[in-house]
Symmetry: C2
Subunit: 356 residues, 2 copies
Amino acid sequence: MEVDLDSFSARDWEEPTDAEPIRFAMVGLGWWTRELSIPAVEGADHCTTTALVSSSTEKAEDVAADLEGIEATLTYDEWADGAATDAYDAVYICTPNGLHRDNVESAAAHDKAVLCEKPLEATVEDARATVDACRDADVPLMVAYRLQTEPVARRARELIQSGAIGDVVSIVGHMSDNILDAVDESSWRFDPDLAGGTTLNDIGIYPLNTIRFILEEDPQAVYARTESEQPAYEGTDEHGAFQLEFPGGKLASCTVTHSATVTSSLRFVGTEGELTVEGLFFPNTRKVLRVSGPDIEGEFRPEPVDQMREEFDYFANRLQNGLDPEPDGEHGMVDMRVIRALYESAESGQRVELDL
Amino acid sequence: MEVDLDSFSARDWEEPTDAEPIRFAMVGLGWWTRELSIPAVEGADHCTTTALVSSSTEKAEDVAADLEGIEATLTYDEWADGAATDAYDAVYICTPNGLHRDNVESAAAHDKAVLCEKPLEATVEDARATVDACRDADVPLMVAYRLQTEPVARRARELIQSGAIGDVVSIVGHMSDNILDAVDESSWRFDPDLAGGTTLNDIGIYPLNTIRFILEEDPQAVYARTESEQPAYEGTDEHGAFQLEFPGGKLASCTVTHSATVTSSLRFVGTEGELTVEGLFFPNTRKVLRVSGPDIEGEFRPEPVDQMREEFDYFANRLQNGLDPEPDGEHGMVDMRVIRALYESAESGQRVELDL
């Protein structure tokens, strides 16, 4: 495979279109939607925000006051009942994980395409129902893995798939942040029923899914260990370490924590070299991709993109062209099963084989 | 703790001395001794090589022919019987792991200080006997963890211990090489009885021991997975991934393989920043230490040192001053028990708690 590093950040997925921008209903107005998703769409090429759905009319109107082009501000009940469905074409769902299913089912009932935040749901069973609802209603469902439209992750994948470092043997990944800087202890993220788990679930999914995306393979067995120290993490996981076994003896080792400095890294070691990316998992930071080995040497520091904007524009551009967006629900189901296995393993202290 | 980064590679352990150089018998003349240890001592300040011990007189004489100052060339039997004990002061033991005990017992019987390659032996029981032999004979025993006199590892330790990145939360490590470039399939390294294990044992010990050294703590529980692909690795381990649980919820994840590009890395993530080292585990390569965080930023690329020279000079300088060299046998015993636990875990698929 030829890897075009000169146009490193080009949108290799973008299709020309004369279609109108896709009009989004933003369902769930927490900090991620307000601070990242809505600003991303404000500067997007292929989409716009026209409806806001929240727990109260006041909250939706407060957010709308700072925006142009909002046609509807709805409560969850109003949106579920089908109010103002003419005001939007697609929905972005960023509620607590355990409310995804209800909201996706509403979107499917209204015949709207869905961009749903990851992980799909709080349990494998509810995730399955979420995916099935979209399939039965024949509406597109994309799971919001923003790394899959991050140019650095896409170039890493092309390099690995083209054999730039030979056969991959080992992978190591890390992601950390301090979530209590962004949310307080009452957040749903610390409630296992609403979240499905905290650190492995919330940020373990980044190295997990990005390694799957870059290798184009799924784990066959896993092991995990979790630790909790601060009171907010009572009954859930603050720090985690996990292993993923990929086909052909490839072993991945990852660490994640919601209570450390903000940093992330990913390293693929192959028979002919290695590829590393620093800073990959955060939405607006500088990324550094390095490739090195006996016959290859390079360092790339492309201008950062807004990962959320790339994701929204990709999803919208696919809809404009009548194409199914990816990653789809079945792709998201694999992570649901892997994460369940990670928590099972952390509970039992045993390796868990997956039957995917 | 004040960290003196200006004199990054200075020998902070070196004591002034008027003593004569320590005269070494090199026991075991495999590629590591010939290509790394003997050249290191040729340029050393505090020691010299005066005796060579090998499987045959011819082999020892062949090696001696290229060196100055060799006073004795001995077979293993001659050396065990106490030939030419006046020709050397201390011994460096670099035989197959499973022969360490016999050779260390000989050295102890001859009242010679011992620098023994790591791991101490092929089994915990033989390692225990090895350490006890030196204790009973009252001869100094140092285990040859050359990273503990590597200036970059020492500066990393000072930075971490001084709180430069806050409290450590996550650690990730990797080491890989292609051992079949250096030895052939008949090497003792692939024989579990003589080696005690292959990849986890041979190079897993680098991240394991260096993390212990830098944290100044020992693992409390472990998990490991191994994989083997090539015929040379039938019945032993080619690739490995392991987790180490340190006190206070610190989790370390490591990958190692004897069948990939030559590379190594180590990353400590803390509450206030992170510290990474590239290239740490190889004896003569360029190392890069980076520290970053909200209140700290630095990159250090000191001139590489010869790790084996630093190790030999440290050991010799301690003896010249009548001081005990470290790391001692008890320190090496911890790795023996951890590595046994890693293989137990790889066999059972279960987390193994350590009672150290």
